[in-house]
Symmetry: C2
Subunit: 352 residues, 2 copies
């Protein structure tokens, strides 16, 4: 829809070399005292004092990571920020700054970039982030978004992937598989629309799962609640590639096995019903779908009591010695070995 048909609009070349990025980054205030210099010099300057700096980066490519046929540019801008912030939260750190570089082919106009940056701006407002650098460039084809996020934490706060012990409880926030099912709906409706342009897609039956796909949130709230309860996970990752793949990351890096239970995997009713409608298995969506941006973490059992008042955090199972394998126990009681069938930009092109 956005970005494809609109031929009218302001040519990007109208803006001079200095002008475009100034124009697009107007209205991005610097909020944090430690951000000493934002956009406009050779580099941004940050004064983290006694904190550790946390850095993560993501490259989002049209036709691989997103499809503008069903992704509004404003949502895309928002989501591009959120997926990076999610990585910072997964370190138990606080995201504070981002840089944004965008490449666009000549089919994009200034108005398209304005929409994209409006989404970026809303995300920066919502999560209190300073935009401190980046650039815009022409591209030979398609849209390219590269975002680097910076965060901070004390050394004691940081949580890595490698800290889990056998016996630790595996927990996940929210529910899983919804963003993947939202993507399937968007693709199905878009395909019908491509075949018959008079078709009006009706997404109102799928508000939750479509929202999870188009406008995900990073779980800042979970990080804050854990902090309030005095709970520091032993290991943590965000669920971007799917529960199976991301849990295996924790296992590999911590040197553990794991045992999780199908019955414990949280799946929203809308996710399950839509999967049924499309003859898909909800469990597969949860295990391999990805883009949930929930937090997957492990806790020493003695800390579990502190989570009783947090219903949005569910225990899935526990870590085991490595020789016990990485197992899913199904509702029928059988055991299946977990495999990394998560999203892979090269191998299994789920997004294409």
């Amino acid at each position: 829809m956005a970005g494809n048909n609109k031929q009218k609009g302001t040519d990007i070349s109208k803006y001079g070399e200095f002008g475009l990025i100034d124009h697009l980054t107007k209205g991005f205030p610097l909020r944090h005292r430690e951000t000493k210099k934002g956009v406009g010099d050779d580099a941004a300057v940050i004064s983290p004092r006694n904190r550790q700096m946390v850095v993560t980066t993501d490259l989002l490519l049209e036709g691989i990571h997103f499809d503008l046929a069903y992704t509004p540019l404003k949502h895309l801008g928002y989501k591009a920020v959120v997926v990076n912030l999610s990585d910072i939260y997964a370190m138990n750190a606080e995201p504070r700054q981002i840089t944004v570089s965008v490449g666009v082919s000549s089919r994009f106009k200034v108005e398209h970039l304005e929409e994209l940056y409006e989404g970026i701006r809303i995300a920066c407002d919502h999560y209190a982030i300073d935009l401190v650098g980046g650039d815009t460039s022409a591209s030979a084809s398609g849209m390219i978004i590269s975002i680097t996020a910076l965060g901070r934490a004390t050394q004691q706060e940081l949580v890595y992937r490698d800290g889990a012990q056998p016996g630790d409880i595996i927990c996940v926030s929210g529910d899983l598989g919804a963003a993947y099912m939202g993507l399937q709906v968007l693709r199905r409706e878009n395909k019908i629309f491509q075949d018959d342009p008079s078709f009006q897609p009706d997404l109102s039956k799928y508000p939750y799962i479509v929202g999870r796909q188009l406008k995900p949130e990073a779980r800042r709230d979970i990080i804050q609640k854990l902090k309030e309860k005095g709970v520091r996970p032993s290991a943590m990752i965000d669920v971007s590639d799917g529960l199976s793949s991301d849990l295996l990351h924790l296992c590999y890096q911590s040197g553990t096995g794991c045992r999780i239970y199908q019955d414990k995997i949280p799946i929203d009713t809308e996710t399950a019903l839509t999967a049924e409608e499309m003859n898909l298995e909800p469990l597969i969506a949860a295990l391999n779908g990805g883009e949930d941006y929930e937090l997957l973490f492990t806790l020493p059992p003695r800390l579990m009591d502190k989570l009783t008042a947090l219903p949005e955090i569910r225990p899935l199972g526990f870590m085991t010695p490595p020789d016990e394998g990485r197992m899913l126990v199904t509702s029928a009681g059988s055991e299946i070995e977990l495999t990394a069938q998560g999203w892979n930009a090269f191998g299994t092109p789920k997004q294409e």
Copy 2:
């Protein structure tokens, strides 16, 4: 040459999701004590203690910023790192870490990525840089490289673009216009080769300018020498878009005019002779060519004495009050107003 014809090689999909980036980033040691965590978690962790952190990012796109018909992948990897480090040095800071994200279409094989990362590795060795993050992804078309560089400095060391005063001397390191003339030679030879594949390009007549284009260096040596002499510039930028455009950046941000002299602009003999051969004006190459990655900075006049033992730094002129304009005084004694005709990825496609 590289990346175009080679159809043989290892399919990237051979590597699993976890495998490719591990494979490519093997042999990248972490050198710096403050790099607490590199590749392999949700984010890298850096402990800058009492230093300021400096952050810059660049997006390099095939067909816009580089052409693989005449750019060896190893050189491209090296250059992609160097152009980011140059921005860190231009803050009078010390680059310490980078993240590298690469997108490649299916025409690229694992061996191509290995060549690219070999160049990245050599640059990291040469400049003592820790590779701390990033990713590889498929792209719908072409190669995409996104690099973020992090550096550090004390608050006193940092030099911004906005600190110049009227009367300050404008200095530049090295010489200008060579990378641009190198690009013209590479394009000319490549065009002849495209028309007649039996043609053997002979670049041996142009070693300096071709080297400046394909394998530029960041001026770490200049930053170190200024430090040894106790000289802190009042304003600084690196020459990436061309002398004219980058000097105007210093003027705009410092609120000054400027007056530089054609006779003082350092141009290498090979640059001048090649320009003559191609019926181009060496002055234009120096003013608007770009990609020199020299340092352009201003100094209070009293500090000039300290530079007498540094012949690779030349005074070009001086900053003036803003109402005196931004002027170039030609060898014939006439005055020309400087304009920003530097490299612009949207407007004037010099690189296309």
